[in-house]
C-alpha cells in the first residue's frame, strides 16, 4: 500500500485531526508528568537538558493547548461546518495539508523548546519559524472553511458556525500580533507594553481560540443528543457578540499587580466580572435546551463528555471573575491556585468538550460504533476524577503558598509545605495520562482497526 501524503478520503481531515489530538494528548500529558516529577524530586532527572523543568513545562502547555485540545476542536470544527452547511469540505487535500502543518508545528515547537530555543512569553514560547507555520495553517483552514461556506446548500448559519468562524479569525490575528511576528528575533515588543501584549495574547488563546470552538461543539452536540431545537436564538446572539467584545479586553488581569496603567486594570477587572454575562447567556441557553433531558446526554459517551465540559465551564468562569478581584489575587496570584484554574479551563472545559466532540462525531464519520464504549467510559471517569483531584490538590497548595507569603514566609520556606500536594498531583496525573493512553488506543482502533472492515464485530 502506498502512503499518500495528502490522501483524499471522505472526512479525511476530521479523522486526521482526531488522531493527532489523541496522540498529542498522550505526549502532552506525559510532558506534564515529567514536569511534575521534578517538582517532587528535582534530582531524579537532573542534568538531562531536554526535559529540564523549565523546558518541559512550555512543551507541556503548548502540546496540550495546540496539539491535544486544539487539534480536537479544529477537527470537530471542520465537521460541524460542512455538516451544518450541507456541502462537502471545499478541499480535503488542503484540509490534510493543514493537518500536517499543524502537527509539524507542534512537533518542531516541542523539539526546539527541548533544545533550548524559546521566546519565553507564556503560550508564545515557540520561535518564529513555527509561528509562521501556525499562522499559515490557520489561514489555510480559514480559507478552506470559508470556501465551504460560500458553496453551502443551507442558507441559515447555525450558532456553531458563527463561533467557528469568529474563533478562527480571532485566533489568527491574536496569534499574529501576540507573537509580534514582525520581530522575528525576540517575538516581542519592549517594556511594560510587552507584558500587556503578551497577556492580551495569552488570554486570547484560551478565551478566543479554545473557548469559542468548544462552545461551538456544545451548541452542536446538545440539541442533537436531546432531540430538541436550541432554546433561544436571542440568547445565542447575546452570548456570541458579548463574548467577543468582553473577553478580548481583559488580558491585563494576568498581570494585575504589575505597574501597568491603572485605567487598564479597571477595564480588566470590570470586564472580568462582566464575563458572567456571556457565560451565563451560553450556559442558560444550553442547559434550558437540555431541560428534562439530561438523561439523554448521559446515554451517549459523547454527550456525557460535553455535559461534563459545560459544568467545568461554569466552575472555571465563576472562579475567573473571583480571582480577578485585587483582594482575592493578593492571595491567589503567583501560586498553584492559578494552575488549578488553568487545568480546569483547558482540560476540564475545553479538553473534555473536545473529547466529547470526538466521540460524538467518530461513529458518524466511520459509519460504525466506537471500537470500545467501555474504554471511552473508562477514559471519561479517569479524566473526570483526575481533573477534580487536580483542582482540589492544586487549589489547596495555592492557598497554603499564598497565605504563607502574605504572612511574610519566604518562598523557600513554603516549599516543604507544598511537597505533599506536589506528590498527590503527580499521583493523580497517572489517572489523566492513563486516560490519554486509553483514548489514543480507542480512537486509533476505531479509525484503523480491522473490526468492521471484514464485516465481523
Amino acid at each position: 500500500m502506498k502512503f499518500e501524503f495528502l490522501k483524499e478520503e471522505p472526512h479525511g481531515t476530521t479523522k486526521a485531526f482526531f488522531l493527532s489530538s489523541a496522540v498529542w494528548m498522550v505526549l502532552g500529558t506525559t510532558f506534564g508528568f515529567i514536569g511534575a516529577i521534578q517538582l517532587v524530586a528535582p534530582e531524579l532527572l537532573a542534568n538531562i537538558p531536554w526535559v529540564v523543568f523549565s523546558r518541559i513545562r512550555p512543551m507541556h502547555t503548548n502540546a496540550v493547548i495546540f496539539g491535544f485540545v486544539g487539534s480536537g476542536l479544529i477537527g470537530c470544527a471542520h465537521y460541524l461546518v460542512y455538516t451544518l452547511l450541507r456541502s462537502p469540505l471545499y478541499s480535503e487535500k488542503m484540509g490534510k495539508l493543514t493537518v500536517w502543518m499543524w502537527n509539524l508545528a507542534v512537533l518542531f515547537g516541542s523539539l526546539t523548546l527541548s533544545r533550548g530555543y524559546s521566546q519565553t512569553r507564556e503560550y508564545a514560547e515557540w520561535i518564529w519559524p513555527i509561528d509562521i507555520l501556525v499562522l499559515a495553517a490557520l489561514a489555510l483552514m480559514f480559507y478552506n472553511l470559508f470556501q465551504t461556506a460560500r458553496r453551502r446548500q443551507e442558507k441559515l448559519l447555525y450558532v456553531s458556525v458563527w463561533y467557528v468562524f469568529a474563533g478562527l479569525v480571532f485566533t489568527f490575528f491574536i496569534y499574529f500580533f501576540g507573537n509580534a511576528v514582525w520581530n522575528p528575533a525576540t517575538g516581542s515588543i519592549t517594556g511594560m507594553p510587552d507584558g500587556i501584549l503578551a497577556w492580551f495574547y495569552g488570554h486570547g488563546i484560551v478565551g478566543l481560540f479554545l473557548t469559542p470552538l468548544a462552545v461551538a461543539i456544545a451548541y452542536y452536540v446538545i440539541p442533537i443528543v436531546c432531540r430538541v431545537p436550541l432554546y433561544s436564538h436571542t440568547l445565542s446572539l447575546l452570548g456570541f457578540w458579548s463574548i467577543l467584545m468582553i473577553y478580548t479586553h481583559i488580558g491585563a488581569h494576568h498581570i494585575l499587580q504589575a505597574p501597568t496603567p491603572t485605567w487598564l486594570k479597571v477595564i480588566a477587572i470590570t470586564g472580568s466580572v462582566a464575563m458572567l454575562l456571556p457565560v451565563s447567556a451560553v450556559l442558560v441557553n444550553l442547559w434550558l435546551t437540555m431541560r428534562g433531558r439530561v438523561a439523554n446526554m448521559h446515554a451517549t459517551i459523547g454527550g456525557k463528555f460535553v455535559f461534563a465540559g459545560t459544568l467545568w465551564y461554569l466552575l472555571t468562569c465563576l472562579q475567573g471573575p473571583l480571582q480577578s478581584l485585587p483582594s482575592v489575587q493578593k492571595v491567589t496570584h503567583f501560586n498553584n491556585w492559578v494552575v488549578a484554574h488553568a487545568h480546569m479551563g483547558v482540560l476540564g472545559f475545553s479538553g473534555v468538550i473536545a473529547l466529547g466532540g470526538i466521540y460524538f462525531i467518530l461513529p458518524r464519520i466511520t459509519g460504525r460504533s466506537l471500537h470500545s464504549e467501555f474504554l471511552a467510559e473508562m477514559q471519561y471517569w479517569l479524566v473526570l476524577v483526575g481533573m477534580a483531584g487536580f483542582f482540589t490538590v492544586l487549589t489547596v497548595a495555592g492557598l497554603i503558598q499564598g497565605h504563607g507569603w502574605l504572612q511574610g514566609e519566604t518562598v523557600y520556606r513554603m516549599l516543604p509545605q507544598i511537597h505533599i500536594y506536589m506528590v498527590l498531583r503527580l499521583a493523580i496525573g497517572v489517572l489523566i495520562v492513563s486516560g490519554a493512553i486509553l483514548g489514543l488506543y480507542n480512537i486509533f482502533m476505531t479509525l484503523h482497526g480491522s473490526r468492521g472492515k471484514e464485516g465481523s464485530s
Binding site: 542534568n47 519565553t120 500580533f177 507594553p193 507584558g195 501597568t260 493578593k330
Partner: protein, 326 residues
C-alpha cells in the same frame, strides 16, 4: 439579526481592531519610556545571560516584579514602569515556584551563585530549582552576570559592597584560622559578642535546630560541621569549619548575629528573612552543642534578662515552690 459569513468575519475583524486599539495600542502609547531612578543599560555579557534566561524559560518559576504586599527577596523596592523600559521580551512571570528575582543582584557574591547554578541543593538543600551544570561554565558565568545585574543601580551598589568585603574576607582567611576567627568576631558589635543564648539547651530545641540545619546549612557547612559540604569546592573563602571555633571566644550572640545577617563578601547568606528569632537561637545552639563543642545556652543572662528561662526543675527565684491556695 441575520448571521452571514461576511457579517461574522467583518464583525470579528472590527471588534478585534477596536480592542487591539484600546487594550494594547493605548497602553503602549501612554506607558512611560522614561527610565526610573535605578535604571541602567545592561552590558553585553549581561545581555547574553538574559538570553539564556529567556531560552531556558526561567520565568516559569521566577517572577520579576515586586508588589506592595511582598516580603522576602527583593522586597526593598516596589516595581515601577520605568524599571522595564529595556525588557524585550518582558520577564514579569506569573509563577513563583522560586523567589522574585527583580532585585536579586548583589544579594550573594558570585561564588554562591556558581555553586547554586551547578546544583541549587548544594546551597539550599530543599530547593526545587533544576541544576544548570549542563549549560557549561561559560554560560553559567553569563547567567551569573545577568542575575547580578538584576536591580540595576541598586544591584551595582550591593555588588560593590560584596567585592569590597570579599577582598577583606579572603585576606583574613588566608592569614590563618586564628586571625580569621578574630577578624570575624571583631566585626560583631560588642553587645552581641557578650550575649549568651537566652534559651536553655533542651532536647526538643536541639532537634528543631538540627532540622533547620539540614534545611539551610548542611550543603555548605557539611553534615558534621567541618565546612566540607558539597558546595565547598566552589566557594572561597570556604564555609567555616565550626570545630575551629572552640576556645576562640565564640558566643551565642555571635552565632546569632552572623546567622541573621550573613557575612557579606563570603557565601555565608543572611537568614533574617527565612528564620525568625527563636529558630536562629535554636540552630545556633545546635551548631554550638554538636559541632563547636561548647555552648553558653542557658547561662545566667548578661543581656536580655526578661527572656531568660532556666531548664525545668531549676528555680532561680530562691528555690521555694510557689505557694498554693488551699
Amino acid at each position: 439579526m441575520k448571521m452571514t459569513p461576511s457579517l461574522i468575519v467583518g464583525g470579528s475583524v472590527a471588534i478585534f481592531a477596536s480592542v487591539l486599539y484600546i487594550a494594547v495600542l493605548l497602553p503602549w502609547s501612554t506607558t512611560t519610556r522614561e527610565p526610573s531612578d535605578i535604571f541602567r543599560w545592561r552590558t553585553p555579557l549581561e545581555e547574553r545571560g538574559r538570553q539564556l534566561y529567556v531560552n531556558n524559560n526561567c520565568s516559569t518559576c521566577h517572577s520579576q516584579f515586586i508588589r506592595p504586599i511582598d516580603w522576602g527577596l527583593g522586597a526593598e523596592r516596589i516595581a515601577q514602569a520605568g524599571d522595564y523600559i529595556d525588557e524585550r521580551p518582558h520577564l514579569l512571570g506569573t509563577q513563583r515556584t522560586g523567589p522574585d528575582l527583580s532585585q536579586a543582584g548583589g544579594e550573594h557574591p558570585d561564588d554562591w551563585h556558581l555553586a547554586h547554578f551547578i546544583n541549587p541543593r548544594y546551597v539550599r538543600p530543599e530547593s526545587l530549582m533544576p541544576s544548570w551544570e549542563f549549560l557549561g561554565m561559560e554560560n553559567i558565568e553569563a547567567l551569573i552576570a545577568y542575575v547580578q545585574s538584576l536591580g540595576f543601580k541598586m544591584a551595582d551598589y550591593r555588588m560593590e559592597r560584596q567585592r569590597y568585603w570579599k577582598e577583606k574576607a579572603i585576606e583574613a582567611y588566608e592569614a590563618g584560622t586564628d586571625a580569621n576567627v578574630a577578624w570575624l568576631h571583631e566585626r560583631v558589635p560588642k553587645p552581641w559578642r557578650n550575649l549568651p543564648n537566652p534559651y536553655g539547651t533542651t532536647e526538643a530545641g536541639l532537634k528543631r535546630g538540627q532540622k533547620i540545619y539540614q534545611g539551610f546549612c548542611i550543603g555548605c557547612h557539611g553534615p558534621i560541621g567541618d565546612g566540607m559540604g558539597p558546595a565547598a569546592p566552589y566557594l572561597y573563602p570556604p564555609p567555616l569549619n565550626f570545630t575551629t571555633l572552640k576556645g576562640r571566644g565564640v558566643s551565642g550572640g555571635i552565632l546569632y548575629y552572623y546567622i541573621m545577617n550573613g557575612i557579606t563578601g563570603t557565601a555565608m547568606p543572611y537568614f533574617k528573612r527565612d528564620l525568625e528569632s527563636e529558630k536562629i537561637w535554636d540552630v545556633g545552639n545546635y551548631v554550638a552543642t554538636h559541632f563547636i563543642g561548647e555552648t553558653d545556652a542557658g547561662q545566667p543572662p548578661k543581656g536580655i534578662e526578661a527572656s531568660y528561662e532556666p531548664p525545668y526543675g531549676e528555680n532561680p527565684y530562691g528555690g521555694e515552690e510557689p505557694r498554693r491556695e488551699r
